[in-house]
């Protein structure tokens, strides 16, 4: 049975979701994950973990690491193990090797949002990872074909901003310095917006953290229309991101998805309720395809 997997705003917000019978949460750990809405310290993980026996925490360690980081990474992994945290989301194969060396046992989720695009890769990497966050750029048919061909735990994003780009470079800081502009906040709590000069539809959020720069979609992916396919095909976790969405709207969206999943409302009702939330949405790549062959590119661009 598919489960909803969600983000938190703060510790208090967890009760809102427990009330909806949602118990799977992604927790971003300060210094070890890409900054999102809520970024916590290890001590705070312990508090959340103790709230309810059925709470399932996915600790997000999705940064790329350098050799200097591995002492602190070892230490945090040992502490997480002690707290009986089992599920880690990672993006760096070095973490797999480190965990092996430390003799620790975790269920590792490969969190790459660009590299998990076919079933054979996932089957092969299942020797090292228990689960996979499927890339945002693949469509419904591709997702379902992956499901048909692997037993790995699969995660798909069904709502929220999608990460498009990550760079080690501090692109906003550099821009402000180069042009001698007064620095303003542009972190995960205060993103800026970029708009393509030649196509106003190409609009995104951009922000920095201590590890670099991130660009996300401006619109929220909304996969309500595809939820039945995900549920009936046993996609294990359906992720709803709260990045750059206000707390109340997010709670309403989670409630809609939860109610549809619990069959207390139907799709029409869900869509109608969703309209009232008034968020800009798209179906992203779920019913779309990208091109890559030169001939297809020329055809698409009318060359």
């Amino acid at each position: 049975m598919s489960k909803l997997l969600i983000d938190l705003y703060d510790f208090d917000s967890i009760n809102d979701y427990l009330a909806l019978n949602i118990k799977s949460f992604i927790i971003n750990l300060q210094e070890f994950s890409t900054e999102k809405t809520l970024n916590v310290f290890l001590e705070q993980v312990e508090i959340i973990n103790d709230l309810d026996d059925e709470i399932e925490l996915f600790i997000n360690l999705d940064r790329l690491y350098y050799n200097d980081d591995f002492n602190s990474l070892s230490s945090i992994l040992k502490k997480l193990n002690k707290l009986k945290i089992r599920k880690l989301i990672i993006n760096d194969a070095g973490v797999v090797e480190l965990i092996k060396e430390l003799g620790l046992k975790f269920e590792l989720i490969n969190g790459s949002n660009t590299l998990n695009t076919n079933y054979q890769t996932i089957e092969f990497l299942s020797n090292y990872y228990r689960g996979f966050y499927l890339s945002n750029e693949i469509n419904l048919n591709e997702i379902l074909k992956i499901r048909d061909n692997t037993n790995a735990m699969l995660m798909v994003q069904v709502f929220g901003k999608q990460l498009m780009f990550s760079s080690k470079r501090k692109l906003l800081t550099s821009y402000f310095q180069f042009h001698h502009l007064d620095l303003i906040d542009f972190n995960s709590q205060n993103p800026l917006i970029i708009k393509d000069l030649n196509d106003i539809n190409n609009k995104s959020y951009i922000y920095e953290d201590s590890n670099g720069t991130y660009v996300t979609t401006y619109k929220n992916v909304n996969a309500l229309d595809y939820l039945y396919d995900f549920i009936v095909n046993d996609i294990d976790y359906l992720y709803l991101s709260n990045l750059f969405i206000d707390r109340n709207s997010y709670l309403r969206v989670v409630n809609i998805f939860s109610s549809l999943l619990e069959q207390t409302i139907n799709l029409d009702m869900a869509k109608s309720m969703f309209k009232d939330v008034n968020l800009e949405v798209s179906s992203s790549f779920l019913n779309d395809e990208t091109v890559f062959n030169l001939e297809d590119i020329k055809k698409m661009e009318g060359i």
Partner: protein, 397 residues
């Protein structure tokens, strides 16, 4: 001191020959399938076979990039393609998606494999992971500094490859979907539209921060680590990589020969200072501003392009020498030139001549004043024999 491999890109068979003749120890090429850079000509299997034969004839190597991130539909034909590459005896492949490793292992295909920079390998543990998967080399992330590289080299026992020259992704390689979202072109399957180099308006809520004089861009300067080569060689790095499978033969000849000179001069005489001649040559080939990337740490705006992001394709390359008999040079024209132009001739065997064009002849040996047509066959009087694939460039003061 260990001599590192100088690894050059080649977009087609002609470029492969030029890169190797001008001093590369190895080239990396893309086949018609499974390779990024869909806009490059790329190699048929027959071309790969000929390229490998050519390289091996001169004791050099050919690596084939099989570096797309596969979608389900792309899996068809992968095993057969890898079998063919093994049969052709390429020296290795460069892959980004672990499906390639799986296929090689599953079917016991005899191929060395290198892990592409698309996997963003930044630490010793990740290197160990890929070594345990059987990789013979990893291509390090471009974000690695020299100090980090040195430490990685000291702590690992598989080959490490490091980018030293050419264009750079501004994102961690393989972790950028701007092109997918903005133009429906899949960057991880060769369709990248380089959206990072576009101009953007920048807003804080509804207030525009940018204006027409300072639009926001994520464009990166190109990499040029010529002056760091002595350090890199001393670190024991195994392979020094030049980027650019879509670059011209002139770019390849210029950049490869410059790096060849710098490496050889350091290894032979311990000369750390790069000669002005080589720096000038590299500058002549550059069509974008260059920087040092991450090698000496991270210096924020120094590695970004802002107001000066336009490309400036060089017009200096005026002809490719097809033949010479000690009396005439037979030349294929590449850019307009005329009588009285000052030119330089340089060749794969370190030939170098400067002279003024006194007379130009057309294909029928009729005297002409200008050579205006691309790929026009022309003749210049020249009393020395030079190597085929030598090149002529105009001296622009």
């Amino acid at each position: 001191m260990k001599k590192p491999e100088l690894l050059a890109p080649a977009g087609d068979l002609n470029k492969l020959k030029i890169a190797l003749l001008y001093g590369a120890d190895a080239v990396y090429i893309g086949g018609k399938q499974f390779s990024l850079r869909s806009a490059a000509s790329n190699f048929s299997l027959e071309d790969i076979k000929e390229g490998v034969l050519f390289a091996h004839y001169y004791s050099k190597k050919v690596y084939v990039v099989v570096n797309i991130i596969f979608h389900n539909d792309n899996l068809v034909g992968l095993k057969e393609y890898l079998d063919e590459l093994s049969e052709i005896r390429v020296d290795g492949i460069i892959c980004a998606d672990m499906v390639v490793v799986d296929t090689i292992k599953k079917y016991h295909i005899n191929l060395n494999y290198h892990i592409s920079t698309q996997q963003s390998i930044t630490n010793s543990y990740a290197i160990k992971f890929y070594k345990n998967l059987g990789a013979s080399r990893v291509v390090l992330a471009r974000e690695i500094s020299f100090d980090q590289l040195k430490e990685l080299k000291e702590n690992t026992d598989i080959e490490l490859e490091y980018f030293v020259h050419g264009a750079m992704c501004v994102a961690y390689s393989g972790r950028c979907m701007l092109s997918n979202y903005y133009s429906k072109r899949d960057s991880n399957r060769g369709g990248c539209s380089q959206s990072c180099r576009w101009n953007y308006q920048l807003f804080n809520d509804d207030n525009e921060i940018s204006n027409k004089d300072n639009y926001f861009t994520m464009s990166s300067k190109d990499l040029n680590l010529a002056s760091y080569l002595y350090l890199l060689i001393a670190s024991g790095i195994d392979s020094l990589k030049i980027e650019g499978r879509m670059k011209s033969i002139y770019y390849l000849a210029t950049v490869v020969s410059s790096y060849r000179n710098i490496i050889d001069e350091y290894l032979a005489n311990g000369i750390e200072q790069v000669r002005d001649f080589n720096i000038d040559n590299l500058n002549k080939a550059a069509n974008r501003a260059t920087g040092n990337g991450f090698i000496d740490g991270y210096h924020y705006e120094d590695i970004q392009l802002y107001n000066n992001r336009e490309e400036h394709p060089t017009k200096e390359f005026i002809g490719l020498v097809l033949d010479s008999d000690g009396e005439y040079l037979k030349i294929e024209q590449r850019n307009n030139f005329k009588v009285n132009d000052d030119v330089e001739l340089f060749g794969p065997n370190k030939e170098f001549y400067s002279f003024k064009v006194m007379e130009i002849f057309d294909e029928n040996k009729n005297s002409i004043e200008v050579a205006p047509h691309p790929q026009q066959i022309i003749y210049l009087k020249f009393d020395k024999k030079v190597s085929p694939y030598s090149m002529l460039r105009k001296v622009i003061s």
